[in-house]
Symmetry: C2
Subunit: 204 residues, 2 copies
């Protein structure tokens, strides 16, 4: 598709680098922006630039943050002796949305995956161990491993557990079981099996 303008063409090429956006959608976005008020388009452009120039990661948990320490790590209302280890920033948000967790987080930035060339050195593992050893604001009593239930997630869980156990910290992981609202009939065998093995006292 040849565009009648190099300015438009450049914008389309740049938008098409976004994940899941093809040239047709990129053109649709660009033509939409062309018709928007100048202020809004400049605001969009500036907020995208700021993602690189102003956005930082928290020095403690590696979550995105406006400042050196993220709002969660710096909140006096959080339980600072519990750390929940997650793969990425989206997972922090997913857990925050449940409003069931009041501890801190640690964003690994991925999981161990030799096939994708992601090794131990590429992840925020050393800083997690340092936090348990003493850099956390208060001594850490429990580390919750909340990584995905994939082979890579399990490998990472296994490695982290091996590193954490000698430090004398309690290591736990998310409960696996039947999703709320699901019927047993349609649950897969592994999940159903785990939900029986990991059964809990009935809280009537």
């Amino acid at each position: 598709m040849e565009l009648p303008s190099t300015i438009l063409s450049q914008a389309v090429d740049a938008l098409a680098t976004l994940p899941g956006v093809g040239r047709r959608s990129a053109l649709r976005y660009a033509l939409h922006l062309m018709k928007e008020p100048e202020g809004e388009v400049l605001h969009l452009a500036e907020s995208l630039s700021r993602l690189k120039t102003d956005l930082r990661t928290c020095r403690l948990c590696h979550c995105v943050s406006d400042s050196d320490l993220c709002p969660i790590c710096s909140s006096p209302k959080r339980q600072q002796n519990v750390i929940c280890v997650v793969e990425n920033v989206q997972d922090v948000m997913a857990i925050e949305n449940t409003q069931q967790y009041r501890g801190l987080y640690h964003v690994l930035g991925g999981v161990i995956s030799p096939i994708d060339g992601v090794g131990i050195r590429d992840l925020n593992i050393d800083s997690l161990l340092d936090r348990v050893r003493g850099t956390n604001p208060v001594p850490v009593d429990e580390v919750i491993l909340a990584l995905p239930t994939t082979m890579e997630g399990d490998t990472t869980n296994f490695y982290l557990n091996k590193q954490l156990q000698p430090l004398g910290v309690k290591v736990s992981t998310l409960a696996r079981g039947i999703a709320v609202g699901d019927s047993l009939e349609y649950a897969d065998e592994i999940t159903l099996g785990r939900s029986i093995v990991g059964r809990i006292p009935f809280a009537g």
Copy 2:
């Protein structure tokens, strides 16, 4: 979904104003950009700003252009006595992609649609009539109406034809018929009917 950073939050809000982009996709785009090299993100931001600051519309055909006159209107290779009237810039590109048309264009910027509040004054109709009356580089021999086959498109066709006829210019419209590769069995009645009425000499 509460984000741990106002910078991220602003970028997500701004991206979510794009057509068909929800907050979840916007977050995905923002987190992707966070990981991209700074140069690429600033390039994206700048090319979006330029859509408003530098992009212009051709003074003759109203298509997007880098300069006062678009590459099509200023090309000596184009047949300047034929004008194809289209609804928007995307339609110019669609016709250009066929490589079957060598004339000029005129972008109306919409079609007459009282229900959407689009009237004759909101469209580039006066400048089309002016071109036929004499502002076109060469006298116009034919105007091809290539508007969508909707009630609004038909209304606009009808209005344009009524305005153009007295100016002594030939007015034509796109052939309607069975799409190439389609079987008659599955064609809708109106299209099939029009393809019979508008039958053409067999070019064996």
